[in-house]
Symmetry: C2
Subunit: 313 residues, 2 copies
């Protein structure tokens, strides 16, 4: 038996995660998902990355927007606007059912990981996705206009403020959710894949949960990351903009440098092949692949590449 762990944020990470689920049986894959973007909104617990992954794996995701559900309607939010309620965070009618059910179960004392398992199972997903923690870890975005909660930065302010740094409120006292550290310490662990998610906003919060970074450092299996930056552009979201604001080169090389000795391998997009020599070191091997995932085949192919790469260590 060989088991794998993948760390994932939202859209980009979910694409590769979907590919992995096509290649690995449920018992061989544990997805660990960022919950630093979670927030309370309209009295509901919103877990954007857990939901994006859930909708992606269950085939319910909206391929046009990259977030939310296909065939969504907006009756509730339209009516809420008439009441003067907050509508900057777009919650579709069908999506709302998830937030209602999750919030109800959380208030009943059920853990986030158990609620997520219930929701994923209800939607027919057999692979295991774990929130990074059952405690609240909330990404704070420090900007030249002050500190913003992640969704306020990301959705309400549309990433406009200039970023100066990040912090993960609650991380120091949070615990990894049941199963996370166990998966990273499994005797049959054959590899860890850091999905092509935003390193600062999607992966760093996971690494900030006590025990996770150490488990990655200490595991004997190889850890690889897939670059979310291709040809100096973020495939999705504000990664490149943030890197510029943090005075980092907007390159895959800077992403690899950010992960540093945590990773043993790095997957570059073919278009960035010229960076391979610059990135590779005695302890970091580089592989190139078609990493822009448009079709399902792209997702499966990249997952194949990642698993093949892991097997070369």
């Amino acid at each position: 038996m060989a088991s794998y762990v993948a760390l994932s944020g939202g859209v980009g990470g979910a694409k590769l995660a979907l590919g992995l689920t096509h290649l690995l049986p449920p018992q061989d894959l544990t997805l660990v998902v960022n919950t630093g973007d979670d927030f309370e909104h309209l009295g509901l617990h919103i877990a954007p990355d857990l939901d994006t992954l859930m909708y992606t794996l269950s085939g319910l995701s909206n391929p046009d927007t990259g977030w939310g559900r296909a065939g969504e309607s907006w009756q509730c939010l339209d009516a809420l606007a008439e009441l003067g309620g907050e509508t900057w965070f777009r919650l579709g009618d069908r999506d709302l059912s998830v937030h209602l059910q999750r919030s109800l179960r959380l208030r009943a004392g059920v853990s986030l990981s158990d609620v997520s398992a219930e929701l994923y199972t209800a939607l027919g997903i057999r692979h295991r996705a774990l929130p990074m923690s059952n405690q609240a870890v909330r990404t704070q975005v420090h900007t030249d206009g002050g500190t913003l909660a992640f969704q306020h930065y990301f959705v309400r302010e549309r990433c406009a403020p200039r970023v100066t740094g990040f912090s993960f409120e609650g991380a120091a006292t949070a615990q990894a959710a049941p199963g996370v550290l166990e998966a990273l310490r499994a005797p049959d662990l054959a590899g860890v894949i850091i999905c092509p998610s935003n390193p600062f906003l999607s992966i760093d919060p996971i690494l900030a949960v006590p025990g996770v970074r150490d488990a990655l450092q200490q595991c004997t299996a190889p850890v690889i990351a897939v670059s979310p930056i291709v040809a100096g552009l973020a495939i999705k979201g504000p990664t490149a903009k943030i890197m510029e604001e943090l005075a980092l080169a907007q390159t895959a090389a800077a992403v690899a440098a950010h992960y540093g000795t945590l990773i043993d391998g790095f997957i570059l997009d073919e278009t960035d092949r010229h960076l391979a020599a610059q990135i590779s070191t005695q302890t970091l091997r580089v592989s190139c692949a078609q990493s822009v995932m448009v079709t399902l085949d792209d997702r499966i192919n990249l997952a194949h590449t990642a698993l093949d790469f892991l097997r070369t260590f």
Copy 2:
């Protein structure tokens, strides 16, 4: 100046309340609304009678169902069903916005009466509707199968269990919402109208709030009730069935007897004119009217009749 108070439950009461708002300016009418049907569902505070009245007064009500909103959709609940969530209480997508906003405001510490005022105002309603109390008073239905919370009896069990009695949990320690007792004690109070709502399930909870019954007994203005029973039939809801189960005659006379000395006048439907002599006493006058309200004109006409009747005392 002459002010009026109307006590109302849901559908039937809301119809007459709508008629009254067409005849009285906002400052001359206070609607006091049953909240004994309120309950927590899916983590939301649902206030069926406040909402039925709000939708009726704002023109948003669904004329076909008698509850909920016109042009409603059910995407959220359909998706919730796929998640295994509770769907026996039908919450439409647009209706949900009200429950979300109310629950959010209540959790922020705003009182039910203030939240209701915000919601009514947002929907353009200028007349004042007060919940009977800002504290939880919860109607319990005692049946041969045990005690049920009101909505479980009314919606989930569809009024099937045989009723043996009612109690109003929390009533003893509740306070009338701000404005309720003041309206009943107003020096210019010209009359109180008990709308044609279920006496046991919609009006008795209001009367159970400390101070309300006394204020009605002590006010010098006349108190009249409009019979919800016409020709032995409840115009809406389970009133007649409940009266049978409580071994009461299913007649307007039994409703008048239920209110007893609380009321000074009683409006019977024309079809029940033969009961007038039986009902009227030295302290209870009876008036007959077309009380089945199908059109808006019916609502306004019955409101006219009630106000005219009050002016004869």
